[in-house]
Symmetry: D2
Subunit: 303 residues, 4 copies
């Protein structure tokens, strides 16, 4: 039994032309870019995909097209995180109908639920869930974390197949992975922050859900492979390049949105897709765009 997902599963940005309007050509180019870059799957409708900012109509449209474009070459995972269980369930059915491989859920993020309440929530979600479920730990945005006791219970649920951890807390990541080690060798433990990809895989993690892989999938795939193979010199070199990208692109804006803005701006400069952002955010102004352009040149991503 090996983990279902190993390697890089990028949290795909959602290409938009305008408010509530998908950039379908951009999406096509982006999906091809990711697959030809060697990714192990595509995670649609995550945080980097601005999922909570999109209308339900557009979320469905995105899922339909992503599954069609991936065409079975790599699995598609669909984020169904929501504050309303009914909407999560509905989106999960749509994902199944579209041919997605699994769904991904973080804690409901308006009311911070207690652990027993999270437990009941997951039980209710699992009932009739048409696809396997990956948990998504994202405490900075959901105001709560999946506790060790909850993960222990989750290990007993065959439909739950892994954990994506975006807490940035590798101690948590390791503690959860240890809980699963004996019982569920098929669970995938994927790390969110790309700056921790090398470390987590060297110590036994299975890969990353890293935003920067939208921009340079080959880099992240190579880093994953080097770390998995225990090639330390190459891991250090590639990990330094990931840090270069992160330091260059993610801190141009002042707010938390700077990461997604930087990614979309970069993809636009690379000719992949538009950089329109869903409210409450807006694309970078020209000044910031020029900074990003200069940095992409430094990174060797554009000339």
């Amino acid at each position: 039994m090996t983990p279902r997902y190993q390697g890089i599963v990028p949290p795909m940005v959602t290409p938009l032309l305008a408010s509530d309007t998908l950039d379908l050509r951009g999406l096509e180019r982006l999906v091809e870019r990711l697959i030809s870059g060697g990714v192990s799957g595509i995670f649609a409708l995550g945080t980097t995909g601005e999922a909570p900012s999109l209308s339900y109509r557009l979320r469905r449209e995105l899922v339909t097209h992503t599954c069609r474009l991936a065409a079975g070459r790599v699995p598609v995972l669909v984020g169904i995180t929501d504050t309303s269980l009914v909407e999560s369930q509905s989106l999960a059915r749509h994902a199944a109908d579209s041919g997605a491989d699994a769904v991904v859920v973080a804690a409901p993020y308006y009311f911070p639920a207690g652990q027993p309440e999270l437990h009941e929530f997951l039980e209710e979600l699992l009932r009739d869930l048409p696809l396997p479920l990956m948990l998504y730990n994202m405490p900075s945005l959901t105001k709560t974390s999946f506790s060790g006791d909850l993960i222990t219970w989750a290990l007993s649920q065959q439909k739950i197949i892994g954990l994506k951890d975006s807490s940035g807390d590798l101690v948590y990541f390791r503690r959860m992975r240890r809980l699963a080690a004996a019982e569920r060798p098929d669970w995938s433990f994927l790390v969110g922050p790309e700056e921790l990809l090398a470390e987590s895989v060297l110590l036994g993690g299975h890969g990353g859900v890293n935003g920067g892989a939208n921009l340079n999938p080959e880099l992240y795939v190579s880093l994953y492979q080097a770390a998995r193979d225990g090639d330390l010199p190459r891991t250090r070199e590639l990990s330094a390049r990931v840090m270069d990208l992160s330091e260059s692109i993610y801190h141009v804006g002042r707010h938390g949105s700077a990461i997604i803005k930087g990614l979309k701006c970069s993809l636009s400069l690379l000719g992949v897709c538009e950089d329109f952002m869903a409210a409450p955010f807006h694309r970078f102004h020209e000044a910031e765009r020029e900074i990003i352009r200069a940095r992409l040149v430094q990174l060797g991503l554009i000339k």
Copy 2:
């Protein structure tokens, strides 16, 4: 020019029979209870109304029926807070079509937006908004607060008509009210936590959006009037009774959800509506229900 809303505007609980199923009979009894209790308006789809936990279909259904049942006797305010601007706009149009008086919006609550981003978000929302807008400050759940600078800008927007503040921070409340004093005497400043209703109105606030008014609207209306009229002995007495209710009913459960659970359980015991809760929460078990029953007897609300 006087504030559009003065007095008690209860954040109405959403009576449910089951998942995604409105308790229409319960809603009817609840609306009558509130109106006959003397409230100055009804706020549907707020935090107490579990709005983020409801499907969009049910949110629309609730708005339609609430407006129909209120029948112009009191204004209906509709919460359109969401993480997706498109969905907020859509719900605002439905509220207008249903005859609501205004809409209410808190900050988008997944990504914590910076103040300039909140500003742009509000500007975009105001464009084509079919109803007046009340701001809703709820930092513990939205992870951000409307800054003084943002409120100063909001005062220049005729379509924005007030602030509901649920921060629990009366210093913030007073600071914002002072900003508006000269420029916008028509703004309504309403306080969320009922334990602060007396204090805020004595010092010039215009009323409260208090969950407990679902249970005992007369009490909150009387307290508002006493404080507005500067009748201190009566204000102290009624405010102590509000504290009695709050202490009795809101702390039976352990998690943040205890307030809404306590309210719904009480309304169920009073025969007003069902106590089904939307996921991720569940109604109280029998043991907690018996505690609530005993406390309602002590409060004189049931025999």
Copy 3:
């Protein structure tokens, strides 16, 4: 049985000439200013007094001189908050030897203690404590709050005589006061944030430990009296003047230290004492000093 302290007990700033050097003349003028302004006591070595930033030697020197200068005209309360119980105990003995009336303690503030640990800490502190003890709730700086259960226990300790609450959370303040109402009518409930003095006293609080009273003790004393006497028009007027002072003086700097810097700068401009600040802070630069000067003119405190 009436509360031991009622009225305004200013958290006295600590006048300094230079690092580790008391401004003794300034202290003398300040103590006279407070007493002639009608305060009900002086609280030395609180947060506003920069206590944690002072050497132990200087803390002792300050206590000695403050008690000597007050000369029994008003009680002196001495803050003994520390991370080391041994140092708190030692300072308490010095306070008793100097003639202080009571000591004041917040939770130890490096390690955030659990409630049972706070309980044990207070038990250990009470043993051999030579003076009555007032609790000081300051969660933003100590990372913990005294829970209702802990306050309930504290009510059973005759040596504990009240609570100063600087949480800014009037709901907490009211809940704690209700716990004491029947059992300990002698407890003093004093509120920290001056912007909440009016509200808290109108609803039954006993006074304030308000930094602004260093600057204008008469104003705060008058506001306290008006609120205590239920004179609402005068309470509103004086409370608005306190808001004027707060808005004018406390937000000139960008960091949390702005309040103490503003107070000390103002006292210096009034000729009361030097504005030297203990590390890690520094007095305002000339530009900020000029802003403060202009605002003191507007407030009518200087010509």
Copy 4:
């Protein structure tokens, strides 16, 4: 130029017989245990050493004896973190007089200082500081972090020689290390949480200040060496053993103090030193002590 400190520098627990009473025999055994275990230095008066809970007299006594006992075999680093600069300076002089090698300082931890204020604080501290200074990033307890800009400035100060990072945030650790890479190859970057020792050293960190090294210094030293040498299989094996120790010993109590209590209890069971804890904490009760004993047997540390 190589970093001054590489390897394991344990944050030594402070053996106590009773309140304000050093366990001198225990200290002697502990120092020998650490040195014979191969540590690269001893860090006295850190968080694990309960420094803020100790009287100044005892802190001085501990420094004197630790330096005497180490007798130049390994360098002694002395924590001078305090809320009062005067006390920090005084302790630094005592450390120099006692023969310590360097001092270590975290941000003053009562008032949360802004970055410019922290900058001024460090400048003032450096003036006349008799020993080299290592920065200590501990945001969970000091409420602030050293920003990248501040670290950039610190790199220009020859007297500052490194950073101990206990944030648990390896992204921060890597970002700061990158800042120093070109300019100050002599800086030491040491990581606090032992669960991250392997990861940080594999990617270029210089060692750890890990509490568990009090208990089993050889294990941590071996792990450090394996990671430094790029021996991945051994790193994984030893890192798993560190996780075993951490999971076994640090979570027996419910509060944040559980780690130090677990360490002291273990050392007591091993016959190294007493487990008396400074207020506000207390040693484990018998039930918890038995749990720890059983786990030490499982870990092979006692029979």
